[in-house]
């Protein structure tokens, strides 16, 4: 048994050694002197945002270490880590994830916050939106013309859409949309809509991408999603894939504009670089990235930067969309989920 214990000890040492070798980055993250390395927890996909990190490295000489995972799981991780979190910046997919760790985030300077409209940042200045995404109705162009797609999500309860609608009710983006509807038309009307929609046997998907894929495959005719998934699916399946987005007019809740955003952790070891990074995300150059390069064509949030062709600008969108406060979505989420649960959307 001594041999075993010895082996075990040897293995531990070996593993620790390997950990040291492979974990140069990890070791750097725990140094609190901000030795030139910035640690970002990114809930945004590597495929979409990696060029932004590279550019920041080139521009500032600061090395960026990125941990990629699901936004909400990273939020839970930050909460579990507490003050010992190695993260400097949390770059998240949705206001909900940022709101969930709000008490761990530091206030951002006004000049950073003021880059974007008040709608797209936290009321207390703890996180700021970095790019916009509009809710749309994606539809199959073999089956429908744009005019045949209803102008309001409230029309989707018409029996003619029975079995033809796809949604992702467990996904944060759908829940934000329902929250917007609640704040816009009230809980009772929202419940009624959810119940009526359920009568139409909507198909449930886990995330937005499968909804768009299913629309392309003709499994459903229309889907309620964020606008940019269309471009990702077309990049995979080809430009001639029979799908298109309809941006809903007027103040329909189905035209909600939400954001991906970023915040700096209060416990950040490299707070200066962290702040600089958030500032960088809102620079004209980074905002133009969404117009000129990014496949997914998100909407720039900074004044004067136009989105990619075919995507309405923030100005055009700001006439439409419900008038709601994104930073209140965190507290409102619970009521939304209760409603979704009671109406059978999330069991």
């Amino acid at each position: 048994m001594k041999v075993l214990v010895g082996l075990l000890a040897a293995l531990t040492v070996l593993a620790a050694g390997c950990g040291g070798d492979d974990g140069d980055n990890a070791a750097a993250t725990t140094t609190q002197d901000g030795g030139g390395t910035l640690v970002v927890y990114s809930g945004r996909e590597e495929e979409l945002v990696a060029p932004l990190f590279e550019r920041f490295e080139e521009e500032t000489g600061t090395e960026v270490d990125v941990r990629y995972a699901d936004s909400a799981e990273l939020a839970a991780t930050i909460a579990e880590e507490g003050d010992n979190s190695p993260a400097d910046v949390f770059f998240a997919q949705d206001p909900g994830s940022l709101g969930a760790v709000e008490d761990r985030l530091a206030e951002l300077p006004d000049e950073v916050l003021d880059r974007v409209d008040g709608r797209f940042r936290d009321d207390d200045g703890r996180w700021v939106g970095t790019s916009g995404r509009a809710r749309v109705v994606v539809y199959n162009t073999d089956v429908l013309t744009e005019d045949e797609v209803p102008d309001s999500v409230f029309d989707l309860t018409d029996p003619k859409w029975k079995g033809k609608i796809g949604i992702a009710p467990t996904n944060a983006s759908f829940q934000a949309f329902v929250t917007a509807m609640r704040l816009d038309v009230g809980d009772d009307r929202t419940r009624e809509w959810l119940e009526d929609l359920m009568e139409n046997d909507p198909k449930f998907y886990e995330r937005n991408t499968p909804v768009v894929e299913a629309t392309a495959a003709g499994e459903i005719d229309v889907g309620l999603v964020n606008h940019y998934y269309l471009y990702l699916v077309k990049a995979e399946q080809g430009e001639d894939t029979p799908i298109a987005n309809k941006f809903l007019p007027g103040d329909d809740p189905g035209a909600l504009v939400s954001v991906a955003g970023a915040g700096v952790l209060e416990s950040a070891g490299n707070a200066d670089a962290a702040e600089r990074f958030v500032e960088f995300l809102l620079s004209d150059e980074s905002q133009r990235f969404y117009t000129e390069e990014a496949e997914e064509a998100e909407i720039p949030l900074v004044d004067g930067i136009e989105p990619k062709e075919g995507v309405p600008s923030l100005d055009e969108l700001s006439d439409s969309g419900p008038d709601v406060d994104l930073s209140s979505f965190g507290e409102e989420l619970e009521r939304t989920l209760e409603l979704l649960n009671e109406t059978g959307y999330t069991s």
């Binding site: 620790a16 980055n25 941990r67 799981e73």
Partner: protein, 523 residues
């Protein structure tokens, strides 16, 4: 760790390591209790919701069906490749075990890609609609695909190791072959089937990838939903504890079905005269082809089609492959070492407490990866920060998650070695430690290797804990697959997936047992 029944007291050198291993394996459970106890108790209200009961029911339904399907397929195959004159049975033995290397989430993607709406099958067959694959049947298919090899491998190993003289005697007495199988062969390998079924059931309980892709409402899906939508860790912990309770139930059932089947004599290790299949040869071949076709060739074809579509866009993920292999190999070695004291204690000093200790080490296996990951985030970030986000912690997480697989390997070979051999060594004046090292360990070497190989294969596929616990920038093949599939870029995910399969395949060859029974080497 009191006295074994009629045996001698378990040496401290065995008890202490075993206790340490189990204590570490219980960390996720401790975390869950801490989380469930904090907060305002709202999480507990969840327990009495109708939805939760429905979830419990659908989870049980899935576990029972996947286990039943895996046992049916696995045992049939194991018998065919070890006991009959099936043509090409060596090749079938390996090919039929290979689906083990396909991560279940990849299997689900592939099944959807092949049989889903406007999938490959529809394009090839030119039909308008195929039966709906989402839901129960899709989840059953994808999970059975990735788990029946556990039953196949363990049962085949046990069949190879079983003393053939009893079966020969039964046949000599003129018993029909189905009766020989039912009354002689089956009881001899029942512990192995039970161990395999247990791994299948625990895997099904813990899986999230398949049930989410196939949109089947299981407990894990609800747990993830709590984390992802509600950012609420307390209800998630309560639901995870329900999962732990289910695990306890599964373990209890498996423990009951176990018989104490020590081999009374090492037996004569020689091949049993293969059972002639006769007119059943064609159906048997058709069965093997169907299993290998559906569960290996179909997913592989889908991956190759995807790969062909996007080969020009993909770089070979060599670095990721190296990382995967390094982390998985360390996990395999560590898990095998950790399993030894627990297994030897439970098998050689059986008592209520040693068995309980062994069972407790199974907790981690049925918990979804996210729970293991967050528990280790919590403990390591706050109490062991030097190892946090290092390879050490990642390897540790793999050990916690996959310890039962190493245990299954070690225990099944321990069960095949008569304790009399060790008693003889003791009687000749060897001490307990010396006996273990010089007698027991060499005898169960192949079982240790088999357990380590199982852990290696699982660690290669692991995703949720890897994402949160890996050192920053430490990309593995599994995280690479995730990176591409999460933006719908299947053509780019195909290469890391195929590479993962190719790198894991040799271990299945090892596992599918060209080795002769232990007794030949040392008997």
């Amino acid at each position: 760790m009191s006295r074994a029944r009629g045996g001698r007291r378990a040496p401290l050198a065995l008890v202490l390591p075993a206790l340490a291993v189990v204590a570490l394996a219980l960390l996720p459970l401790v975390y869950l209790v801490l989380r469930a106890a904090s907060g305002d108790g709202r999480g507990f209200e969840l327990l009495w919701r109708r939805n939760t009961l429905e979830l419990l029911w659908s989870t049980c339904l899935l576990v029972v069906s996947v286990t039943a399907a895996s046992v049916a397929i696995g045992v049939t195959l194991a018998w065919l490749v070890t006991r009959t004159d099936l043509p090409g049975r060596r090749i079938w033995a390996v090919a039929a075990a290979l689906p083990l290397v396909i991560p279940s989430y990849v299997a689900a993607f592939c099944l959807l890609g092949a049989l889903g709406p406007r999938g490959l099958a529809q394009q090839v067959l030119g039909v308008e609609r195929l039966p709906e694959i989402y839901g129960y049947w899709g989840a059953l298919a994808a999970l059975t695909l990735s788990t029946y090899p556990y039953v196949l491998l363990l049962t085949a190993a046990a069949l190879r190791g079983a003393d053939p003289s009893l079966e020969e005697a039964a046949r000599g007495l003129g018993r029909p072959s189905h009766e020989v199988f039912r009354r002689v062969t089956l009881p001899a390998v029942r512990p192995a089937i039970g161990a395999g079924a247990l791994l299948v059931a625990l895997y099904t309980l813990s899986d999230f990838g398949v049930v989410s892709l196939m949109r089947y409402d299981a407990l894990t899906r609800a747990i993830y939903l709590q984390y992802r939508a509600l950012f609420d860790r307390q209800p998630a912990a309560v639901l995870a504890l329900v999962l732990v309770a289910l695990t306890a139930l599964v373990l209890l059932l498996e423990g009951r079905s176990r018989r104490r089947t020590h081999r009374t004599s090492p037996g004569v290790a020689r091949r049993l005269q293969p059972h002639p299949l006769g007119r059943w040869k064609l159906p048997a071949l058709a069965f093997c082809s169907a299993v290998v076709g559906c569960f290996l060739l179909l997913p592989a074809t889908v991956l190759v089609v995807w790969l062909a579509r996007g080969l020009d866009r993909t770089d070979w993920p060599w670095n990721e492959a190296l990382n995967s292999v390094t982390a998985s190999a360390l996990a395999a070695a560590a898990a095998a070492l950790a399993a030894l004291p627990v297994a030897i204690l439970a098998k050689r000093h059986p008592s209520r407490s040693t068995r309980l200790l062994e069972r407790l080490s199974f907790t981690g296996n049925a918990l979804p990866g996210i729970v293991i990951a967050l528990s280790l985030v919590f403990f390591a970030a706050n109490y062991a920060s030097p190892v946090y986000q290092t390879l050490v912690l990642l390897v540790f997480a793999y050990v916690v998650r996959f310890l039962p697989q190493a245990l299954a390997g070690v225990e099944s070979s321990l069960a095949g070695v008569s304790p009399r051999v060790e008693e003889a060594a003791r009687a000749l004046g060897r001490g307990p430690v010396s006996t273990t090292v010089t007698v027991t360990l060499p005898l169960i070497r192949s079982g240790i290797l088999a357990g380590a190989a199982l852990v290696f294969l699982s660690a290669m596929k692991e995703l949720p804990a890897t994402l949160l616990l890996r050192p920053i920038g430490f990309d593995t093949l599994a995280t690479d697959i995730w990176r591409f599939t999460s933006v719908g870029a299947y053509s780019e995910a195909a290469l890391p997936a195929l590479l993962l399969i190719a790198l894991s395949a040799p271990f299945v060859y090892l596992l599918s047992g060209r080795h002769e029974p232990e007794a030949t080497e040392h008997g």
